[in-house]
């Protein structure tokens, strides 16, 4: 029996569906219980990551990364955001992002996006 370029991928895809059904039909040994705060924290981080590509290309690496840093740090802190902690997260995020930008563009020659207004 000869195989075409699609035989193996489609065969594997079909096996994946069967395995997913098989795994779903069995009781998962350790089903994880998440608390409300944890669910909220991971949802905020996932949302931030999904809009990151747009922010990255329009605002540039430094601003987008600073914002990502502040959003992730703020959500992982768990408590309601306060002006003081947000400002500190933004400052630390900006310092970290600028250091990385300098290292990668200046030191390693990697091209990173700049803000659209520059």
């Amino acid at each position: 029996m000869a195989i075409t370029p699609l035989t193996v991928p489609y065969g594997i895809g079909a096996m994946l569906l069967v395995a997913l059904l098989g795994a779903g039909a069995r009781a998962v040994p350790e089903r994880t219980a998440f608390d409300h705060a944890g669910r909220h924290m991971s949802a905020v981080i996932a949302a931030a990551l999904l809009i990151l590509p747009v922010a990255f290309m329009s605002l540039g690496f430094v601003i987008a990364s600073t914002a990502l840093f502040a959003v992730v740090a703020g959500s992982m802190r768990g408590a309601s955001p306060r002006a003081g902690t947000v400002a500190i997260d933004l400052l630390v995020g900006a310092a970290f992002s600028i250091a990385l930008y300098t290292l990668f563009t200046g030191g390693l020659g990697v091209s990173l996006p700049s803000p659209w207004f520059l």
Binding site: M1, A2, I3, P5, L6, V8, P9, I12, G13, M15, L16, A19, L20, G22, A23, R26, A27, V28, P29, E30, R31, T32, F34, A37, G38, R39, M41, S42, I45, A46, L49, L50, L52, P53, V54, F56, M57, S65, L68, F69, A70, V72, A73, G74, S75, M76, R77, G78, A79, D89, V92, G93, F96, S97, L100, F104, L108, V110, S111, L112
Partner: protein, 493 residues
Amino acid sequence: MGELLNGFAVALTPSNLLWGLAGTTMGTAVGVLPGIGPALTVELLLPVTYGLDPTAALIMFAGIYYGAMYGGSTTSILLNTPGESATIVTALDGHHMARNGRAGAALATAAIGSFVAGTIATCALSLTAPVMVKLALAFGAADYFALMVLAFVMVTTMLGASPWLGWCSLLLGLTLGFVGIDGLSGQSRFTLGIPYLLDGIDPIIVAIGLFAVGETLWVASRGPGMDDVLPVRGSLMMTAAEWSRSWRPWLRGTAIGFPLGALPAGGAELPTLMSYAIERRLSKHPDEFGHGAIEAVAGPEAANNASAAGTLVPLLTLGLPTSATAAVLLAAFQQFGLQPGPLLFEHETALVWGVIASLYIGNVMLLVLNLPLVGLWVKLLAIPRQWLYAGILVVASLGAFSVHCAAGDLLLMAIIGIVGFAMRAAGAPVAPVMIGLILGPAAEQHLRRALAISQGDWTVFLTRPLSASLIVVSLLLAGWGLARSATRHKIEP
């Protein structure tokens, strides 16, 4: 021997020594951070090597890999937060030792044991690699395909809560590996009409998504909170009794770790567990196990580091990654246009032996970095958790973007990260995804080549003794795994 000496000549040049030192230092610094295992450490630091020549970059990588292994034990002992499954065993008794005021002795036996095991295992790697290369040159396409099937079966059977979940992970990795244009026919596969997918899915993006993003989402989902870091109390000099109780477990751990690390069984998880069980059986103080037995730190740490060198045997000689970290390392090789395997030893002799020689040097550097400077690394554990994971995501997104300078890679990273989080929540292992992704296209190529040579005759896999043996072992192992799962399912409904 001459090749190894030439390797030392390469590794001992001032610039390569400096890259090796930078790699071991960064590997330790990142590896010591809580929840970060060697695979994530290597992946996070991958962008730092862009712009270097391949030899310097891979020497740096070897340092990062070993540094991450050393750093992981510090976190397990002082914070009880293993960065990966292989250091869970170290955390069991190491953290108890730290609580009992013997953190210094626990860190010392882990560091010296890692040095002893790393050095002996690197010697074993230097001796076995040329033999494996000779064997590998005699491998045909059918043998390679059968070997990869065995790797798939072992990884899915050994890792995770159930073989079903292991198979799901592996098949997901294989499916992702087939995305893009087929190299032999030019036909597009699983691209869904999206031009971005025609080039295929880069393993580095998948690694970043699964390990960095998936891990961060997983940690976040557990809610706020922070483990206490225990102070380093007690002298870092081990007593005569502690030396006496440690040296045999170091050697036994090495003997267990190296060969098991070379098997495609998912890395250091199995050797560390085996070492723990054996030490418990042989110890004169079995009652101390689980409460701070030094043998329970010495043996598994040695097994862990020896398995790291063992992992490099199939990786370098056959191009076969046997763990998630090895899969990321293979992706790093491919990033520089290098394909590990027997031909790499023929065409890039200086590079391969330079990297192997750098492992000897790296082990010495790491002993110096880890014992006297442990107080410095412990300070890194004081970084607030929210800044640590925010920093990880910033570096991860930078790493993902740097691969092709494409915004699409960032979106892919986020999607795969969410999948990685869901897999963790379901108890599915993530290592088989990486192994399937990287080995899948190669396995398909060998399958098609073998069938082309045999003119479509499928019995080619059963008429060659090596491939037939490997296929039989794979079938037996898969059957055993599924039977074990079914039995467990009946007992624990």
